[in-house]
């Protein structure tokens, strides 16, 4: 076929994903997380970075505090927190299911609140204290929630599980007295296609008293 541009040509383009949207608007604000009326540790407003030393027009040098470690990195301005965690820091436990704040697979904890890391720019996450699934078990000991997930077989394919654990941890860290209904609400932004919801909530109920003690 001849290799030249034709004036009436069309080419397919699917709707913009969240990530592409962010890419096209540069460092603009990213919406985040589920809106909640009950305080369940779900972030309602994004955090903005004030001063980020620019490296060039497209890159920045940032500091990220993840699971107690501090990282200095040069990143693409368009990179989301999820991108940087997964590709720059190798923390692939945070999953991507939609890239647009609709599935919850990418949930991490920032300053004690569950956030969708696909919908936060890494440059905006600098001043936060970030926790990921990799930081949950301490010194080889599983977190009570992780143990409870094992005990209740609260998973099938496992893809949504890191996000579920993060969402529940944020919620129970803030309030270890949540009712079953409130626990259900706490994961209402985390979809599980395998349908393990009942076991997940059972597991959270098992972990609740243990987390209270700690």
């Amino acid at each position: 076929m001849p290799e030249e541009k034709s004036p009436q040509s069309t080419s397919e383009k699917f709707t913009l994903s969240r990530r592409e949207f962010v890419a096209t608007v540069g460092g603009a604000a990213a919406t985040s997380a589920v809106l909640s009326t009950v305080d369940l540790g779900v972030l309602e407003t994004p955090v903005f970075a004030a001063e980020t030393p620019p490296v060039d027009k497209f890159h920045s040098l940032i500091t990220l505090r993840v699971n107690g470690d501090t990282h200095r990195l040069v990143i693409d301005n368009r990179a989301t927190l999820a991108d940087v965690l997964r590709t720059e820091l190798g923390l692939t436990g945070t999953k991507i299911g939609c890239s647009r704040g609709e599935c919850g697979a990418c949930t991490v904890i920032m300053d004690g609140r569950a956030v969708y890391s696909c919908s936060i720019l890494a440059v905006d996450a600098q001043h936060g204290k970030i926790e990921t699934i990799e930081g949950m078990a301490v010194g080889g000991r599983l977190h009570p929630l992780q143990q409870a997930f094992l005990d209740h077989d609260a998973m099938q394919c496992g893809f949504c599980i890191p996000g579920q654990l993060m969402a529940l941890k944020a919620a129970l860290d803030r309030n270890p007295n949540l009712s079953r209904e409130e626990l259900r609400y706490a994961i209402s932004g985390n979809i599980c296609r395998c349908g393990c919801y009942a076991n997940i909530i059972d597991a959270a109920e098992q972990a609740r008293p243990v987390m209270k003690k700690v």
Binding site: M1, E4, S6, T10, T15, E20, R193
Partner: protein, 821 residues
Amino acid sequence: MRTVGERIARPDSLDKVQGTAQYVDDLSFGAMLHAAVVRSPLAHGRIKKISTAAARRIRGVHAILTAQDIPGQNLIPMIQPDQPLLAAGEVRHIGEAVALVAAETKSAAEEAARAITVDYEALPAILTLEEGFAKREIVQHWKLRRGRPCDIFSRHDVVVVENTYQTPYQEHAYIETNGMIAVPETDGGITVYGSLQCPFYVQKAVASVTGMKMNHCRVIQTVTGGGFGGKEDAPGLPAAMVALLAQATGRPVKYILSREEDMQVMSKRHPGKIVYRSAASHDGILLAVDVDYFLDAGAYATLSPVVLWRGINHAAGPYRCEHVRVDAYAIRTHKVPCGAFRGFGEPQIVFAHERQMDLLAERIGLDALQFREKNALETGDHTVTEHELKESVGFKDTIIEVRRASNYDRLKLEIEKSNGARISENPPNPKRRGLGWGCCYYGVGLGARGGYLNPAGASVVISSDGSVNVAVGTTEIGQGMITVLSQIAADALGCPLEFIRIMPPDTSRVPDSGPTVASRTTLMSGNAIADACRQIKSRMAAVCADYDFSKIIAEMKSQAVAASARGETHPKSDFHRIVTSSYTPSNRASGHWSEEAWLWKATIQRCVQNMVQLSAHGWAVPPQTTYDGETGLGDVYVTYSYSTNLVEVEVDIETGETTVLKVWTAHDVGKAINPQTGEGQIEGGVVQGIGYGLLEEHVLATDGSKAATRKTGKGGPFPPGRILNDQFSTYIIPTPMDIPEIHSLIVEHAFPYGPFGAKGLGETPIIAVAPALVNAIANATGIQLREIPATPERVWQALKQEASRRTQQSPRRSRKAASAI
């Protein structure tokens, strides 16, 4: 210790809760490139010109391939040889791949894909089933003929009910989208890693397009984030794409589909249309069914012929019915090809027959349950295909279990009372409760049309320390295969569970074992493992039969004590330590092997010293099945699983919204190898069934629709046939807020050929949920829906129509009737 029947924790769960399980997007290889795909914006068109010059100039682009660059065949081999990997000359559905790009970064690849321009000439597109049928675009036609249905329908002493039913597309919506990585090997081969259900299908697709021998195409399944049938045939496409790009560039290539792309172009459940006529006697005997069954196959045949075939084999439900006519058609349209989805052609037709059962019961004046019980299949009966059921028929027991657990007779009365009370509240309470039944059965395995895909292999290798590697050709997709097969291997060998390791599926390890579908994994791979274990056990017995192990065990123990005194750690696995710690804290403290484990280790040591071959390949072939193409009759499956569901709903008659309150769901699975993972399968299936019945459907742009005037990212209107809801915010699946209380009940009527009596369980849970929901809505409100999903809009519309129908029928009673519903 026997582990079969125990609630054993999943060996793969520890990785999943720690985030260390490696899904395909978590892997990367040195010098890896990223792929992007140029896809058709038109449902049907001729490709006039593809211009790639501008794209080639983009920095980081390594390869751009179109149909003419394919070294092998431009064909994804499935049942019919009709699907190209890259459109050549003509595009036949929106999203069909036209060109491939590999570049240094994902964004460069995507930029290049956007820079490739394709000129099309639009051609007329077939976008509905009806149009396709009228134009005789028939991918497959199956027939079923039994008895003389015409004679029954012409009788005057029978009750006849006839309706047309419609079912929607359903999206698999696995949370991990499809994705693949191809890695070129130094010997010229290619290894493909990916999210998939059927490694051997992928292997064939890769070999076909690359032109390589199959033994040079190695496929390894990575931990897979959900399949549900969506990763059965469809992953062959992305796998073939990355393989071609890797072949062209000599570098590893990764391609992970975005959510939107996955929803637009990957397979789905077929939309269906069922014209259903049934006849019953006045005393409640189901006499005849007469059915036309249509599935919208999309642009290519993929698995449609066999999806359709499963539907026709279950056309009358788990009931005795001697007079049957069914014609089933898969219709070709210019839409995304549909394929396998949990239930595989059954949910569509089951929706119809279970609605019919309720309507017949109402006409006859029987309770919906009574009518079903009266006609339920039992041992000695014949199925709709004249398969005589000689054993393992637990259907009636599933009904009894649900009836018992739900306290049905009391509950029914209680609900009638409470609805009555709500109507007379002031102001009237708009919520109405209702109960609905849904039953089904499911032929386990591929059945008579599965042919060479039916057998399965397994390899079992025992190391000198007693640990065991088991390799099979079927896959773990969250259904719990690793757990269940570990249990089968442990019990078949007589060794403790912690010694077993199920290896990641790899086409180079075991012979073609067919697909991981049709609830066949426990049955077929389980039997193959049992076969291999039997061979090894008989060799072991020859040297161990009369041997006294006490001395050798004592010796090994003292060695272990000495080792731990030197500070060497105990060899027990992390997994075992952590999982058992929660059940028996003393285990953790003692850190010692059990007596059983010592005996196993000692036995293996003796075998090693005596040069016993501690490895074997197992092979399982299912019992004979038969099928007559003319009549459609035969012993089409090896056996059947049965299921009964009762749901309780609450419908708001002002908004049309349905809330599912409770579900009782009973399944005859032969034997639950692991009741815990079994219950997980049941609950998960029910949740997906609720989605199918109440929430999920794709909306497509039509020519004149409002949606067609909405803007795409590119600035044009959506072309007809394009899926408009391709995100989780528009394609709605059940969230934690939508789930009811689910009571999973397991019934065990052992299947003698199955491993430890097991049949299969993966699919029955989803199949009869949708009709049960719609039956319950009918019970609550009196409206008779013939279409799912029963969204609030649809229910509300039907309520309005029903009210106006009543007004017209009897003007005097109308006001009361309207307020009563």
